[in-house]
Subunit: 401 residues, 2 copies
Amino acid sequence: MQLSRRAEAIQESPIRKLAPLANAARARGVRIYNLNIGQPDVPTPPEFLKAVTAFSEPVLAYGPSDGLPELRQAMVEYFRRYEIALEPRDILIANGGSEAILFAFNVVADQGQEIIIPEPFYTNYNGYAEMANLKVVPVRTRAEDGFHLPPDAALEKAVTPRTRAMLICSPNNPTGTVLAWEELERLAAFVKRHDLFLIADEVYKEFTYGGARHRSVLELAGIEDRVIVVDSISKRFSACGARVGAVISRNREVMAATLKFGQARLCPPTLEQLGAVAAYQLPESYFDAVRAEYQRRREVMFEALTTDPDIVLRKPAGAFYMIVKMAGVADSDDFARFLLEDFHLDGETVMVAPAGGFYATPGAGTDEVRMAYVLETPKIARAMQVFLAGLERYRTAGSRS
Amino acid sequence: MQLSRRAEAIQESPIRKLAPLANAARARGVRIYNLNIGQPDVPTPPEFLKAVTAFSEPVLAYGPSDGLPELRQAMVEYFRRYEIALEPRDILIANGGSEAILFAFNVVADQGQEIIIPEPFYTNYNGYAEMANLKVVPVRTRAEDGFHLPPDAALEKAVTPRTRAMLICSPNNPTGTVLAWEELERLAAFVKRHDLFLIADEVYKEFTYGGARHRSVLELAGIEDRVIVVDSISKRFSACGARVGAVISRNREVMAATLKFGQARLCPPTLEQLGAVAAYQLPESYFDAVRAEYQRRREVMFEALTTDPDIVLRKPAGAFYMIVKMAGVADSDDFARFLLEDFHLDGETVMVAPAGGFYATPGAGTDEVRMAYVLETPKIARAMQVFLAGLERYRTAGSRS
């Protein structure tokens, strides 16, 4: 049976595809430090599960297609802390940030139209672009610039008559880069100039370090009707398995259209929305400990990696990822496999995500890997020793074969 | 800001659009019997919530993209009761039957290609077709035939070079019709003849009455690689708010492609999957009481409606819906509004779903409404008195205006 072209075209998860090699290494008794996937180890707030278990309706019925009113209200109050004024009607609860991306793509663009995304980017945008039959047009950002936006000229070159939106992610997965306010203002002018939507994935907004502060595109004046934010509780409250995200926009037509797509899938999960309400009511101090912990991890990882003069790495200000560019590695996919198959240091190795999968441009990122600092500090310190030893061994050998 | 063409095109929920009129009627003190929406009133099994609250991991982490292994195993065992042999790899857990439809559409067809669906059909198929840029090609079924399949000649006429699949729903929403084994065999020959996939929405499989038995397309021999089943616990365990569905197929390429789409949205909700495991482990006797209750409701509704000689209605064998065709009603949308705005019987009225929204053919179904028998028997009996009185009044008045 012939499947669809898009079923053939959609990319396999570059983060998960090394799993069989990791399993084989574990079977040989090798201990693996998992730096390859952004699964936080921070405990989910106990208030979350307590709120879920308090559910006492006899029937777990369909909820509203735009989400529980109490959750949308809790989000309004949460955003007020950041001096962002929203109303419940500006928010639609989605099945995770994932579905929020799918809805945003469907609302702004038709098949064959284009979305500009700075690369490297979160690989799953590709999957949604495939489902919505959109073309992702990458704009290159570089390790040497800390993956900040390129000059306007580079953005301009990406625009065609088919461009409908610019999508950014800040704090960024996979780079950890936090866009400066000046960059956001530059984007505002850009989308205005070309009559585009500005879609912003801000699911890591709380995770900024060393005094960096996340600024939201919702704070940009004069482009309120162009802005669509993709949001999620997955990282915010370490509740990745809950699948509670949101589409946020002050453009009423955008929200009305999003609701129609939302009605087609009936509603997001009820129980986990109840948990989210409780999480959103946690005091702001909840994030202090979480942020301090990630900041420590970032320091340890950054300090260790920059002892290698042949690594290019600007200290990222947010999220919990780094893209590490390495001289002497021409094929980071091969290098990641080497670490799992042909290397260990005293019975230990590391699993990293080859960065090629985060680029739309063929051949880009092949000298880079993404690392997530989602392990406790002592483990990260040790993982860095193991990684640097593996890198040295790989460089000496020239390549795996 | 110009939205996408599909955002403009996607249909508003025909079931939910009368809600403002119902709210206004309630505000006037009118009591409404809600026959318009398929929200079961059967209690969710307490085992479901108990299993959710037993969750004790510190982190609500991402689950597997294809669902929890224990849930897929529980489903394998559940299907064995119906003598349907599956393996866990034949099952991918989706965010409700809704996402299962989206995945199935994406896997079998590309933009501009066609899916044949007997009409009237579950209106949300339209939303997914819009998202996947597919064209729904309707094949008409009729109240006079109990909404069973038309002769082969009618199916043949719907085939074009762009046809990729036939989609059926049995037991059917909105008609309640249960396809006979002979009809399934006819479909098997049809999809073989034209090299199509056969997608079957079987989310009401347990809900059959009066000795009718649901037969699954998974029982058809010789077309295993063409069959994709869309499944859900929403109705099965009265857990609509859980969003736990599944794509089921023995075609390995289909499942591999479905997994790639599944990876793009990371995972289905973890807590509610745990609830589903417990529900699937309930004894088969769980359904006896549920089925007996719905069967009683069906009898009461059917007996009452067929006292009107100008209603066309063959007794449907499954689900909990009926499509009621009424002489003297030319515009059932207007009639449904009349019931809410201009009519009451001793302070009571009924809310029904105009059937036009269940048809792709313009103008079809305008003399029909869908009713769901999701209320207790005495309420259904009373609702039928109110409905028939309203119908008589409407016919006498000629129309609303």
